[in-house]
Symmetry: C2
Subunit: 246 residues, 2 copies
Amino acid sequence: MNEINLSQVKAMTFDVFGTVVDWRRSIAREIQELGQKKGFDLDWNSFADEWRSGYAPSMNKVRNGEMPWTKIDNLHRMILDELLSKHKISILSEEEIDSLNKAWHRLDPWPDSVEGLTLLKRNYIISSLSNGNVALLVNMAKYGGLPWDVVLSAEFSKHYKPDPESYLSTGEYLGIPINQVMMVAAHKNDLKSAKSNGMMTGYVPRAKEHGENTVADYAEEDYIDIMADDFIDLSQKMSATKETNS
Amino acid sequence: MNEINLSQVKAMTFDVFGTVVDWRRSIAREIQELGQKKGFDLDWNSFADEWRSGYAPSMNKVRNGEMPWTKIDNLHRMILDELLSKHKISILSEEEIDSLNKAWHRLDPWPDSVEGLTLLKRNYIISSLSNGNVALLVNMAKYGGLPWDVVLSAEFSKHYKPDPESYLSTGEYLGIPINQVMMVAAHKNDLKSAKSNGMMTGYVPRAKEHGENTVADYAEEDYIDIMADDFIDLSQKMSATKETNS
């Protein structure tokens, strides 16, 4: 039954941070480069982790109405300002802080991402579906060569994942039934929400998202329709479902 | 002064129908193919013109609040239903009518469009800015190989051009000041509105938009910052402004 549904997929929407790009190493590198240039020292990886860990709580304030709609660029900046203050880094100019904040626009794709997306693009509409704002996603795509057919962002629906509107908007914008759209992510909670809103789901665990010591979760779940090692493997497995059912 | 501003352009947003694609010949061809298959005869070009001429009035009903937000796909279908009735064509199935309506997703690019956009993409963020809905623009890009960095549509801002919100949303989504965004169009009224909302403007007259006998308007206007013969010429002229000011 899952196999038959997989052959009907027309579009694939991808979570971005962690799924398509390696945010941790990219952010740690940028803060390290800045620190070495300006003369401050930190645990660069921990700084990246701290920055990222402020992300969900700040979005939740938007999701529950405590804050009005606020772009990720601005949420990142609020968290960054707190972190710089906490670590007593006061030597950065506004321009340097703004540039550091835009490090999130310059995240390196995982080694398989560009090739895998390019393969998938031959058979599917491929799109981001990220909480990142449009400018961030567009700049990141140009930086990393991500070949999106279309950039979809929570900024368009003004609803952050896992709000249902964010998932449901994909079918509406792409003009196809929601069960012909596959959400692809490295995070099970994203896929669980996507499935509960009627999407197909593809799970691509990223064993190094949180560093070399990440313990990746390879367990199957009833809300996961297909699991793959990386995007190239996903492309091959999806092609097989088309051939089986043609 | 214009030249200095042109060197600051970061993104180019393109009108699509008539500017990037040859809607008239593409639509006429599809209705002709269907007519020959199903056994009805019409002036195919006139049918395309009639269909297109219903476009602005139907959008205006949305713009002035007479109708709620309605996608172009649905406006096209309303106009098509009236035209089929007027021409007493009653032999088409729902599936055939829906497929004909989606002919607007399969419009051929002008001969220079893909090469010109590819050249411009090296130096600028390139985006659609069309009243066409997202699905229409995405399907058209895949059909014709249009290499957009991002698909922007009136569907995102829920405001049809020439509403100011449609133009102003480009700078907001792309995260850059509106005067660093250039609107490119084959239609002066689009550029006049873009300029009045603070955008830069590029005029690319399309001498065959309305058929071989179109009288194209090559007159300069104070709201036009740059004029070009086609997108390849536009790319060359824009490169020259960068070199002059670097």
